[in-house]
Amino acid sequence: MKRAFSILSFVTAVLLVYGLYQALIAAPTERTMGDVQRIFYYHVPSAWTAFCLFFTNLFASIAYLIWKNAKADALAVASAEVGIVFCTIVLITGPIWARPVWGIWWTWDIRLTTTLVLWLIYVAYLMLRRFSDTAQTPVLAAVLAIFGALDVPLVYFSIWFFRTQHPQPVMGKGGSLAPAMLHAFLINLLAFTCFGIMVCWSRYRLEMLRREVEAAHAMESLVGAETSAKASLPLSRSVR
């Protein structure tokens, strides 16, 4: 497992460096938007990775509800948290692109608003996980995750079904990219997907370690309580 993680880390690092080179230097400058269009090579792969992670969260939550598997629950936490990180990048790079192109940082457009709602849903999910400490918390969180995931297709298809300011898809549905731009885009898509898997894997390991430490602390306090109960037993007898 450690070897697989090292290989993935190496491949990811190479892809990210190559992707950065493709995005900043190799890809041609877009005619109307100029250099600011290059934000697209980070913005769209970040959104794609966030969606993949939210879907991972959905499947892990369903698996937890069916089998009550602790590993599935840990994967759900990990994917939600890393998904929020990527979604935050989408919500930051989008307005940075919009300012010079649209002349405004933000507009309550359907794509932008649904993305913000998606981010808020998963922030609420993490808040629930952090501040609620009952046995029912993982079940409640899993149910919230299922409802949260319903927003993902809404975000994706919003630009197809509603009139919006957001650019239309560049692949499929009549969209097209110059071959050099497509190459830069696909490399970054692959690089960000690998990076997302790598970070989610690390977060999953951290979550499992956290649970191990919690269990060790619980065991320690149980042993401590047992020892003190044994020690106080002769004393209580002598008091009698």
Binding site: M33, S202, L206
Partner: protein, 45 residues
């Protein structure tokens, strides 16, 4: 349209967020491994 400063702002923001998050994970690992070691030591005593 001179968007170079916006381009760099977007890329820097992306890597600052990822860097910050990775640092947070590394610190989490360090803290938990230390705690686990301490619990193990206490058990041995």
């Amino acid at each position: 349209m001179n968007g170079i400063k916006f381009l760099f702002a977007a890329y820097i923001a992306t890597w600052a967020i990822h860097g910050g998050y990775l640092l947070h994970l590394v610190r989490g690992f360090k803290r938990l491994r230390g705690e686990l070691k301490e619990v193990g030591k206490a058990k041995q005593q």
